[in-house]
Amino acid sequence: MVGKPAEPARSDQPQRRGRGDTTEQDSEREIVGPLEIEKLSKEDGRALILYSSAPPPRT
């Protein structure tokens, strides 16, 4: 994003963070849609994300 006027943020659009920030941690789990997400860091620092079928919600 260079030299362009910012548009009003929409709630359904990606929320931009500062340049260089990351959300990854060594291991972090979250649910997105039907998927369980596991975030890992490789030994060389690269991110690895594993997506698996999420367990059905408890009733």
Partner: protein, 304 residues
């Protein structure tokens, strides 16, 4: 580290990623870096014995933080599968993965455009056979999506919406349609068997899609790719390009659609972008879109 230069004559960026010369090139299946890690063996890129879908930072990135991103999306742990042969649930899950990556990469200040794509087949430069796609986070708006956004002004509204309406009204190039998606060979296709899969409602990006849209998109893409494979009874090479809204201004502009560019013009002959295509920017095609659409409809029916 890549270097970005600007070609003033063509008004376009060129990325120099010289480290990519060393990237893994068509390894044997025993040395596939995208397969799961076998017990007692050195780890591959995915240090698990099984997995469903995996995404990781490309070891040989064309773009990297803080000047963009390059990720690899591995569709399955099955080396011999393909996008078309994934179980429907897995293909649908892949749409959710794309959506998640669009949201996360698009949130970064150094990513202005999230481009999801798949290169299939050595004919389009694949270096790993294991079924996978890629995602580039460009630190600028690339020329092709910029051209599409410029078409909005010429067509006085959303260009993909207008073109979809025209294709539906004409009908000759429509391959199939459902309540949510339409697939067609475009009126002015560049490639002999080029096809677009367009979300019927105006959805700027994957984030604007609900679960039914994503399911329909996955089904539509698999239907098309299976038809491609049936056309010449061989794995059909293609470039699959997901076009959607930029994640920097003009945020929210665009219309989610997927364009497929297969290089084959017959079962054994390739269409090469040559003198006219590269030197003058004008594609010369040997096949009329109406004829290739008819062939593809038959192939899709054969594929079931």
């Amino acid at each position: 580290m890549s270097e970005l230069r600007f070609n003033e004559l063509r008004h376009e960026h060129v990325a120099y990623a010289i480290h990519r010369q060393e990237r893994t090139f068509l390894p044997s299946r025993e040395h596939c870096p995208l397969c799961p890690t076998k017990s007692g063996c050195p780890p591959t890129e995915i240090p698990r014995e099984t997995f469903e879908i995996a995404v990781f930072d490309n070891r040989f990135p064309a773009f990297e933080q803080p000047h963009g991103a390059a990720e690899v999306v591995v569709y399955t742990d099955a080396h011999d599968a393909s996008f078309g042969t994934l179980a429907p649930g897995r293909a649908e899950a892949l749409m959710w993965v794309w959506r998640h990556r669009y949201a996360e990469l698009g949130a970064r200040a150094d990513v202005d455009y999230v481009f999801i794509f798949e290169n299939r087949g050595v004919e389009v430069g694949v270096t790993l056979h294991h079924p996978h796609g890629q995602i580039y986070g460009y630190p600028f708006l690339p020329p092709v999506p910029a051209l599409e956004l410029a078409a909005d002004a010429r067509l006085d509204g959303c260009a993909p919406c207008t073109l979809l309406a025209r294709e539906l009204q004409d009908g000759r190039r429509v391959l199939f349609e459902s309540e949510r998606v339409v697939a067609y060979v475009p009126h002015a296709a560049r490639w002999p068997y080029e096809a677009h899969v367009v979300v019927r409602e105006h959805r700027p990006s994957l984030l604007d899609c609900d679960a039914e849209d994503l399911r329909a998109l996955a089904h539509g893409l698999q239907t098309l790719v299976r038809g491609y494979d049936a056309l010449f009874a061989r794995p059909f090479p293609y470039v699959m390009a997901v076009h959607q809204a930029p994640t920097a201004p003009p945020v929210g502009r665009g219309h989610l659609h997927v364009e497929l560019y297969p290089p084959l013009r017959t079962a054994k002959k390739l269409k090469y972008p040559a003198g006219s295509e590269q030197g003058a920017g004008t594609f010369i095609s040997d096949v009329l879109p109406e004829e290739s659409a008819a062939e593809l409809r038959e192939a899709i029916a054969r594929a079931g």
